[in-house]
């Protein structure tokens, strides 16, 4: 499974980056390809490219606040959750996404 995603939190200092790291580590452990863009208080970093978005099976938005550029994901399967929901049990969270996509015949 190829994941692209965005993390963003209210202050844009801590959870945005911690959640990113957690997602990347969990994705690696589960054997998924993953790219995460952070939208923190210093703006967007590691911005996703159109090619990466196109190649992705799913878009994971781990966000507590409004993000910019959501229209880039039009037509893609999107999973949206609060950062704390993704942080709590990240491996399981990603595996459930995979399961759902498989059931829907999208993987």
């Amino acid at each position: 499974m190829k994941i692209v995603g965005i993390t963003a939190c209210p202050t844009g200092i801590a959870h945005t980056y911690i959640t990113k790291k957690k997602i990347l580590e969990a994705a690696k452990a589960c054997g998924y390809e993953c790219r995460i863009e952070t939208q923190g208080s210093i703006g967007a970093e590691d911005a996703l490219t159109p090619e990466e978005i196109k190649a992705a099976d799913v878009v994971l938005l781990a966000v507590d606040v409004k993000i910019s550029g959501e229209e880039r994901f039009k037509g893609k399967p999107i999973v949206k959750a609060r950062t704390e929901d993704v942080m709590r049990n990240t491996d399981k969270f990603l595996q459930q996404i995979e399961l759902k996509l498989r059931k829907a015949g999208k993987l």
């Binding site: 200092i13 801590a14 704390e84 942080m87």
Partner: protein
């Protein structure tokens, strides 16, 4: 390039807090920041800390919590570190109590370099080695050393 010592000062670390509750922890660390001239208004700073607490969970697991406040009453962006002598009830991702509290005081209008450094420190708090040192360190130097090393892997 900024280094960890630009945001982490010995005077803002207390490895034997007397606090026994979350409120007492926030009070004790706020007092420390006030005494060390990091913040100009204790009540205003605490208000911001509690505001962020209401927005979501700051216990990031492994006994560590990261309350943070971004407000104009912060004079310089720093990290305060406190360690308690007993378990503190604090909402966290792994539902475990907290012993190490990393409090982020963030200046309202700050240069991005500082913010990036604080963000990098936040990320490091997921590293097993960093977590272990925070729980066991007897001196602040041990903490600075491990955070310094952690800074190299990004």
């Amino acid at each position: 390039m900024l280094e960890i010592q630009d945001v982490l000062f010995e005077e803002n670390v207390c490895l034997n807090l007397t606090a026994k509750t979350k409120d007492e922890v926030i009070c004790e660390l706020t007092e420390l920041l006030y005494l060390n001239d990091v913040i100009s208004d204790k009540e205003e700073f605490k208000k911001e800390i509690y505001h962020r607490e209401e927005e979501g969970i700051t216990g990031i697991g492994d006994g560590i919590a990261i309350p943070h406040g971004r407000t104009p009453v912060v004079k310089k962006s720093v990290i305060a570190i406190g360690r308690t002598q007993s378990d503190i009830d604090w909402k966290s991702f792994d539902d475990k109590p907290v012993r190490v509290i990393i409090m982020f005081a963030i200046r309202d209008v700050d240069i991005s370099q500082h913010i990036m450094l604080l963000s990098r420190v936040a990320e490091m708090l997921l590293d097993k080695e960093v977590i272990d040192v925070l729980h066991s360190a007897e001196t602040i130097d041990e903490i600075i050393q491990v955070l310094k090393q952690g800074g190299g892997d990004r």
